[in-house]
């Protein structure tokens, strides 16, 4: 195909906008991470501190505590959403009446605004008036209302549950699409040869889902690692930092305490972890393209 210089004109507006709003901020975050910024954000008064900000972030106890929370939050949300969503995809992957409606119902959590979801879950998990407490009492599981969000032992688990509720439909539609690529003839041939449901599942279905699972899991990991709205609206990191994760700490540092330099260094550290994940993500995608 002949190349036309004009071809670039079609892409130019999109590229320009993205360079301005993506490449520049990335560079600026690196730059700012080496300065101490004044609380009024008068940037001409910033002071060069080298790698001091990094040392302070990496040495802070609160950051260490949030690291474990971040790990648990990211991994548990991803694993549970994947299992729940994959199960739903498997159960939906056969023709029956009302299948479209059921899929629609299960997609509702994914579509609804995260803020509205966070508020309604705060209401469901309310310490004195919550529906979940009332349900537990009505079924005789508990005699007292249960304090989900003001309890340092259960707050993170509660947030993970809400996050899983929000995300499992995404896994469901991805895996459902993946399941449709599994050749029917192969499954039937295996059945004729006497393979049971488990054998068909493990030896035919699962190997066909490698790529789509990889992409889905990595997208989930990225989304959870960056998840902000649910923890911020539901607990703001509390009580006593028990649900604090990196992202909520960065936001608090930047816009609560107006320490942009310090928060930028924290962001760069988060970037580094992200980029490592991103590297695998792109490699998985490129690998898939080559295979096709």
């Amino acid at each position: 195909m002949v190349r036309h210089r004009a071809d670039y004109l079609y892409v130019a507006p999109a590229v320009l906008v993205m360079v301005l709003v993506i490449a520049y901020p990335v560079w600026f975050t690196f730059y700012l991470s080496m300065f101490s910024t004044p609380p009024n954000l008068a940037l001409e008064d910033k002071i060069f501190v080298g790698l001091d900000n990094y040392a302070r972030i990496l040495g802070a106890d609160s950051v260490h505590e949030a690291s474990l929370n971040t790990l648990v939050w990211t991994v548990a949300s991803t694993a549970l959403a994947f299992v729940l969503g994959f199960g739903a995809a498997l159960a939906l992957n056969r023709p029956f009446r009302g299948r479209g409606l059921l899929r629609g119902i299960l997609l509702v959590p994914y579509v609804i605004s995260a803020v509205a979801a966070a508020y309604v879950w705060r209401w469901l998990l309310h310490s004195d008036l919550g529906v979940l407490s009332a349900l537990a009492m009505a079924t005789g599981l508990r005699s007292q209302p249960f304090n989900f969000l003001d309890n340092t032992d259960t707050v993170l688990a509660s947030l993970i549950m809400v996050n899983v509720w929000k995300e499992f439909p995404f896994v469901m539609i991805m895996m459902l699409a993946g399941l449709q690529t599994v050749p029917d003839q192969l499954l039937r041939a295996a059945q004729v040869d006497g393979a049971g449901p488990w054998q068909r599942f493990w030896h035919i279905t699962v190997p066909h889902l490698g790529n789509v699972s990889l992409v889905t899991v990595l997208l989930l990991l990225a989304a959870n690692f960056n998840g902000f709205t649910i923890p911020w609206v539901m607990t703001g990191g509390g009580p006593a930092g028990a649900s604090e994760i990196w992202i909520t700490q960065i936001y608090q540092l930047a816009f609560g305490r107006i320490r942009f330099g310090l928060a930028s260094a924290y962001s760069v550290i988060l970037f580094a972890v992200m980029m490592t994940m991103g590297y695998f993500y792109v490699r998985a995608l490129v690998g898939r393209d080559r295979a096709s």
Binding site: H4, A14, M18, R103, I112, V120, L129, V282
Partner: protein, 280 residues
């Protein structure tokens, strides 16, 4: 295998999952038709004994304080989301067309760059963007949100649209060009009409994203009158009490159009969103 253990287990599982999915929406609706007094009873009334639409009436009456504020946020959200959507389509359509049709150096790199955007945390972009917006004098304007949503929505819009363009046979354009149409004219008269369902689906998707966005709106706007709905919801919390019926009614009004639009068009979204991940 019509009967047996697995189909039954599947039904049971889907049933439980459906309850889990719908419980929050259901309780939102139930709380929204209670009075404040009924809403804070414990144990709660599972079915409201005296259902009332008072919370909705209050939200939608411009004469009441709470209605005035809510309607303003609703209009703000509509304006920001609509502007984002229209501008987004104008920029994304040509780019997606180029990605679908042309082979140019750096095409792949650029496209993976576009996808990589998904990996970057919004919160990390906040500080540089905040400073940039301050420099441009855009802090506390809705334009700052429109520009941000526009750029952050582009990667996915381009990805969705490219999928739709890929499905239109290139021969149709070639035929038009043989008949003397310029490339642009062929694009405008052949490709655009054929891909209009895809363009509409993409537009609605970016509308939903802008409508639901929280963290940028929380950070860039501080003038009460300019807030969008997701941030405005915090108004239902006061120092003394939370207006739960009001909050739930507002959340319901905010959620229903979005859920409805998505469900009507779910076929397109599901196909477009998953196409890239399963093609092999």
């Amino acid at each position: 295998m019509r009967r047996g253990f697995w189909p039954l287990a599947g039904w049971l599982y889907l049933g439980l999952l459906a309850v889990f999915s719908l419980l929050p929406m259901a309780w939102m609706l139930i709380t929204s038709v209670k009075t404040q007094f009924a809403a804070i009873q414990f144990p709660p009334e599972w079915i409201p004994s005296h259902p009332t639409l008072d919370a909705y009436a209050e939200l939608l009456s411009p004469g009441r304080e709470i209605g005035r504020v809510f309607l303003r946020y609703l209009l703000n959200s509509l304006w920001v989301s609509t502007a984002t959507t229209v501008l987004g389509v104008i920029v994304a359509v040509p780019a997606a067309y180029a990605f679908s049709r042309f082979r140019f150096p750096g095409r792949n790199l650029l496209f993976y760059g576009v996808l990589l955007r998904n990996m970057f945390p919004a919160v990390v972009f906040l500080m540089p963007l905040f400073i940039m917006m301050r420099f441009l004098g855009l802090v506390n304007t809705q334009l700052s949100l429109i520009l941000t949503y526009l750029t952050f929505g582009l990667p996915l819009s381009i990805w969705l649209l490219k999928g739709f363009f890929d499905n239109i046979p290139i021969q149709l354009e070639q035929a038009a060009r043989i008949d003397g149409a310029s490339r642009f004219k062929a694009f405008l008269l052949v490709v655009m009409p054929l891909s209009s369902p895809g363009i509409i689906a993409t537009a609605i998707y970016s509308f939903i994203q802008a409508w639901n966005e929280y963290v940028y709106a929380l950070t860039f706007l501080n003038d009460d009158a300019k807030l969008t709905l997701p941030v405005g919801l915090q108004h239902f919390f006061t120092e003394y009490a939370t207006n739960w019926p009001g909050l739930m009614a507002a959340s319901f009004i905010m959620s229903v159009p979005v859920v409805a639009m998505f469900l009507v068009l779910q076929k397109y979204f599901v196909r477009a969103l998953t196409d890239g991940a399963v093609k092999s």
